[in-house]
């Protein structure tokens, strides 16, 4: 089985090729079978490979499909490398990916570009699998760029709306900034170590660089740049909320479960480099902390159901970065996995809500959907509970591990822990705010407003098996996924094992109680019917106070970073481009032509056609020449 590892990305790739060649003429049933089936096959294969790998007891397995580039010392192949970390990733990608594909066959059923949708989705899964399977950084970069491309294509899937195109371009360009940083990191690694094979780098780097040496810092900082871009962390997080313009299954697959966690994967994969550069590793932790707080506050203020989830994703990846930064590698991967489950669940449930409400996104125009959309309601309850890390859900275990690890950090332990717990509190607030506003209270939904041309705009929950089944599975995983143990200990064995911090009972209890407290406050502000009015009143007061109003706007806009980039970079570039539309260089060369033409018109004046003028100039010239000769 392991020898067939090459088939893993090949299945979805074949699906992509078939769907593209069909040029949209394939029936929807056939397209569904190819689209979802290819990923399903990949999942089955991934499971078989996992069983064999885990039974074999080997640490790793690698296979070269063919030589890719062999230039001088550079020797890269299309080679796949399998270890515990990869295993977790391929199972998440193909498993969650398959569920989301299945869901999409229902969600996109009415879309005319059905086949195009699945072709992009399949290409995405193929690229993502290559990304995690790659045994060298160039191949990883191939997957990295491939998923970026698919993300671009899928965000802008409904291409007729220019706003979607803008969001798609923004996503691609912002992540490309990070990618470029990563590419430069690759150049640096190669010029210093002479190899881009990940395992070789992990061995060579400690032997050539001392801890904290400049090269190690530079290399890991550049890789961090790439990770920050892909995983939407500060300061490159601005693209993810806009990326919600894509169809909701895309948000679930790409912008929650898989692609955005590629940055976490990259850092975990190259963790040795980060351990060689403690300053950068600490930076990772603080980037994570800042991001999780920023995104938490911003999520509080959003009205768009998907933007709330998007900021929540940014925030949760912030937790993963925090874990990476304190060296809790397996906790980060564990949270990556549980997050994939519950965030995919939340997004798919949100998709059901949105579909049932005729593409209404504003949560304050929903309300009291508890009875009308029971499936979505229960999915949201489960997902939010896991997201909030309420006890015994999957998120509880992973977040617990991260916070404990943060507390154990020798110098900044307390700071990181307090920040993390505050973030957890915010998570509880915003996620249950979403639940309460959408599913409780009184209904503000106006069908004619959302779908003015649809006469049958009734709220009917779509619970076709294709959409129901994935929700069920994901809900189960969100509840019980915490019991799965990720087999990554061997991967991070050589790195210094962090002792489990000896946490006082008090702090631990506090850590568990704070999210519950958050849920309760959220209930007071948004949920309970007697308090709904009071909550609204209080909110009104807050927003109208000068500080509250300012904070509201500041947080709502995602801390104004969009605006900052817009003015500082986009406008400046547009202006530069605009003033030089005609290319000054061309003006320089056309200037030569202009001078020649000017000289021509000046000299033409001497040609009067008058013969005596010619004779006089002849004589004058003669006199001057003789004069020069005589009086030299």
């Amino acid at each position: 089985m392991q020898n067939w590892i090459g088939l893993l990305p090949a299945f979805p790739l074949a699906g992509f090729v078939l769907l593209v060649l069909s040029r949209g003429r394939m029936s929807k049933t056939a397209a569904s079978f190819i689209g979802a089936g290819s990923v399903g096959l990949a999942f089955v294969l991934a499971v078989l490979i996992s069983i064999e790998f885990l039974n074999s007891g080997a640490q790793s397995f690698s296979k070269t499909l063919w030589v890719w580039m062999q230039v001088g010392e550079l020797d890269t192949g299309f080679s796949f490398y399998l270890d515990g970390l990869t295993l977790v990733m391929i199972l998440i990608i193909s498993g969650v990916g398959f569920l989301i594909h299945l869901y999409s066959t229902g969600f996109m059923a009415d879309d005319p570009d059905f086949a195009r949708f699945f072709s992009y989705m399949n290409l995405f899964v193929a690229s993502m699998l290559v990304l995690v399977l790659a045994d060298n950084l160039i191949l990883l970069y191939l997957g990295w760029e491939g998923v970026g491309l698919c993300s671009y294509l899928l965000i802008g899937f409904w291409y007729q709306n220019p706003a979607n195109g803008y969001a798609a371009r923004k996503a691609f360009v912002v992540t490309r900034v990070g990618d470029t940083s990563m590419a430069i990191g690759l150049f640096l690694l190669f010029s210093q170590l002479g190899s881009l094979n990940i395992q070789e780098i992990l061995v060579l780097a400690p032997s050539q660089w001392s801890t904290g040496s400049g090269m190690a810092v530079a290399a890991s900082a550049l890789l961090l740049g790439g990770a920050v871009g892909k995983s939407a962390q500060l300061p490159l997080q601005t693209w993810l909320p806009d990326a919600m313009a894509g169809p909701t299954p895309i948000s679930a697959l790409i912008h929650a479960a898989t692609m955005v966690t590629a940055g976490v994967y990259l850092i975990a994969r190259t963790h040795v480099l980060f351990e060689l550069a403690p300053s950068v590793q600490l930076l990772v932790a603080f980037v994570g902390l800042a991001t999780l707080l920023m995104a938490g506050f911003t999520a509080m203020m959003q009205r768009d159901i998907k933007r709330i989830l998007a900021y929540s994703t940014i925030s949760q990846i912030g937790y993963m970065f925090l874990a990476l930064g304190v060296g809790a590698w397996s906790a980060a991967v564990f949270h990556l996995m549980t997050h994939a489950f519950f965030k995919a669940l939340l997004f798919l449930a949100a998709g059901t809500v949105i579909l049932s409400l005729h593409h209404e996104h504003d949560i304050f125009k929903m309300g009291a959907m508890r009875r009308r959309l029971p499936v979505s309601f229960w999915c949201f309850i489960v997902g939010s509970a896991a997201l909030t890390a309420l006890p015994f859900t999957s998120g509880f275990y992973s977040k617990d591990a991260i916070l404990l690890a943060a507390l154990a950090h020798p110098t900044y332990g307390m700071l990181l822990w307090v920040g993390g717990v505050l973030g957890a509190f915010m998570t509880a607030l915003y996620s249950f705010r979403l639940v309460f506003v959408v599913f409780f209270g009184s209904s503000h939904y106006a069908a004619h407003e959302a779908a003015p041309h649809d006469d049958h705009a009734a709220v009917v929950e779509n619970t076709s098996p294709a959409m129901f089944f994935p929700l069920l599975i994901l809900a189960g995983l969100s509840l019980f996924g915490g019991l799965i143990s990720v087999p990554v200990d061997a991967v991070f064995a050589q790195s210094g094992v962090h002792e489990e911090a000896h946490v006082s009972q008090f702090l631990h209890t506090l850590m568990i109680l704070i999210p519950i407290l958050g849920v309760m406050i959220s209930w007071l502000l948004y949920g309970s019917v007697p308090y709904e009015k009071a909550g609204a009143h209080l909110r009104q007061r807050l927003v109208q106070s000068p500080l509250g109003g300012w904070l509201n706007r500041f947080w709502f806009s995602g801390w104004g970073m969009d605006k900052l980039y817009q003015t500082l970079l986009v406008q400046a570039f547009l202006m530069l481009a605009h003033i030089n539309r005609k290319d000054v260089i061309d003006i320089a060369f056309n200037g030569t032509a202009f001078v020649a033409r000017f000289a021509n018109s000046a000299l033409v004046l001497t040609q009067t056609g008058n013969m005596r003028w010619y004779a006089i100039s002849l004589v004058a010239g003669l006199v001057i020449v003789i004069g020069l000769g005589v009086f030299r």
């Binding site: 230039v71 550079l74 160039i138 291409y159 430069i184 150049f187 061309d586």
Partner: protein
């Protein structure tokens, strides 16, 4: 004989094509197709049947032949094919066929003369890629220009006279510098070995004192760099490309630009290793500036062909960067970029030409949302744009990645700035996609009935796409061919600290 056969087939094919117009207006293109296929067949048979024979300075030569021409001045018909030439010859003939496909229905007047010019341009390029006698090289250099000038001047678009004249002046002036430098070299050979020689291998033995070497090197450099073109000498290119007919643009972007890079690799570096090494940091700086500057200017263009033209200049910056990085990675990167850019830019120009043929405009403001109407053409545009952005898995990535990888080892600052070009490439490329293919459909109403790709177009695009995927997924088949020549070049020292 192989080179002679190639050039002869193309020259005579061109002449016959011109004459055959008298019989039937459809004859010339058939003749052109036949002669291109014949020369491609000759080259392919040669490719698969022979192996490198002569080992001589400059690498392994598959062919190295010489006939006397003007012995008094040491001028001979010295031609050679090594791995580098072979790759570029394949590219030339392949794109020749593509250009033929582009012209097939587009050219309706003075058909015979058009195909005559087309074939003679290709013949000139074949000569340039094989000539090793500098006099012969210069001869072919001129042969390639004049038919191209005529193609732009006769079959071009609204502003063709200006564009053709600009193209001609730029290339002639830089050609003059090149000629002066060549003559100086020959004279120096006369001084040192008491006979004139234009032989590539002879001239490598000439010892040139410091300052003079820099000047002669600059003569060669400017001659080739105008063709490449580099930043500062590029302004002929947007005009020439946007005014040329589609086949002309395809040949210009795909092949003619590569003669500049070829000249740098084949002549400038090996003939003047010391001066070039001193010059390399300047050249790499120019390359980085060009990459960023032209990407920025490209973004501001409204004329789709001008935009693609500027992106060409930007991408040629990677070639320059790779060449002057002067190590195996950079050189391989430059060669791969030449090949891949040859295909991707040719395809993009053909797409722009196809749009102009359908809607009679190149203005991006007038063409929006074409995906609804022309899904296949738009998908092709997306594919080649993505290739040009440098998506891994397609040829351009291999080239740009290796160029930058090599350049990083010799000049970090320039490389980092050049890498920012990757971001700008994404900006302008996606802008084009958004503007022309996504969004709401809007086209000039009188041409609203335009149809999607024709069979010929589809075939051309499919071939080019397959080529790019091949280059991206298994570049080794190309890297192996050029490796020996480039290894020799690397051994001449210079960059790559």
């Amino acid at each position: 004989m192989i080179v002679l056969a190639l050039v002869a087939i193309l020259f005579f094919g061109g002449a016959i094509a011109w004459a055959s117009e008298a019989l039937d207006a459809r004859m010339p293109r058939a003749v052109a197709l036949l002669s291109l296929l014949a020369s491609a067949a000759v080259l392919l048979i040669f490719c698969f049947s022979s192996s490198p024979g002569v080992m001589l300075a400059g690498g392994q030569w598959w062919v190295l032949e010489s006939w006397a021409w003007i012995p008094r001045f040491g001028i001979s018909l010295l031609v050679g094919v090594d791995g580098l030439s072979l790759l570029l010859l394949l590219l030339t003939l392949f794109l020749g066929l593509i250009a033929l496909g582009a012209a097939w229905n587009e050219i309706q007047e003075r058909v015979g003369f058009f195909y005559f010019n087309l074939l003679w341009t290709i013949a000139g390029v074949v000569g340039v890629f094989t000539a090793l006698d500098l006099f012969l090289f210069f001869f072919f250099w001129e042969v390639m220009l004049i038919p191209m000038y005529l193609i732009i001047a006769i079959w071009g678009h609204e502003n063709r006279a200006y564009a053709a004249m600009k193209f001609f002046l730029y290339t002639q002036v830089s050609g003059l510098l090149l000629l002066l430098a060549i003559l100086t070299m020959s004279y120096l050979h006369f001084v040192q070995f008491s006979r004139f020689s234009f032989d590539y291998f002879d001239l490598q033995n000439v010892v040139i004192p410091g300052a003079l070497q820099t000047w002669i090197m600059l003569g060669f450099f400017v001659g080739f760099a105008t063709k490449l073109p580099i930043f500062g000498l590029h302004s002929w290119l947007p005009d020439a490309h946007s005014q040329a007919p589609t086949a002309g643009s395809v040949l210009l972007a795909g092949v003619l630009l590569k003669t500049g890079a070829y000249g740098l690799i084949r002549f400038t570096l090996p003939l003047f290793p010391e001066a070039s090494a001193d010059f390399s940091s300047i050249a790499m700086t120019i390359a980085a500036i060009g990459i960023l500057y032209c990407a920025k200017v490209a973004f501001a263009q409204q004329d789709i062909k001008r935009l693609i033209a500027y992106t060409s200049v930007s991408h040629m910056g990677f070639v320059l960067l790779g060449i002057y990085a002067w190590n195996l990675y950079g050189l391989q990167g430059a060669v791969m970029t030449m090949l891949a850019h040859g295909l991707s830019s040719a395809a993009l120009f053909m797409l722009a030409g196809g749009l102009q043929a359908r809607f009679h405009t190149r203005d991006m403001e007038l063409l929006n949302g074409l995906w609804v109407k022309l899904p296949m053409l738009s998908a092709m545009a997306l594919f080649f744009t993505v290739a040009a952005v440098g998506m891994p898995g397609l040829g351009n990535f291999i080239g740009e990645f290796l160029s930058l990888l090599g350049a990083f080892q010799s000049n970090r600052v320039a490389t980092i700035f050049a890498a920012l070009g990757l971001v700008l490439a994404a900006v302008y490329s996606l802008w084009v996609i958004q503007k022309m293919f996504h969004g709401q459909l809007r086209v000039p109403s009188q041409y609203a009935s335009a149809g999607d790709l024709t069979l010929i177009e589809l075939l051309c695009y499919a071939l080019m796409a397959a080529g790019l995927v091949w280059m991206g997924m298994y570049p080794q088949s190309f890297l192996d061919v050029s490796e020996v020549s480039l290894l020799y070049l690397q051994s001449l020292g210079g960059g790559g600290e």
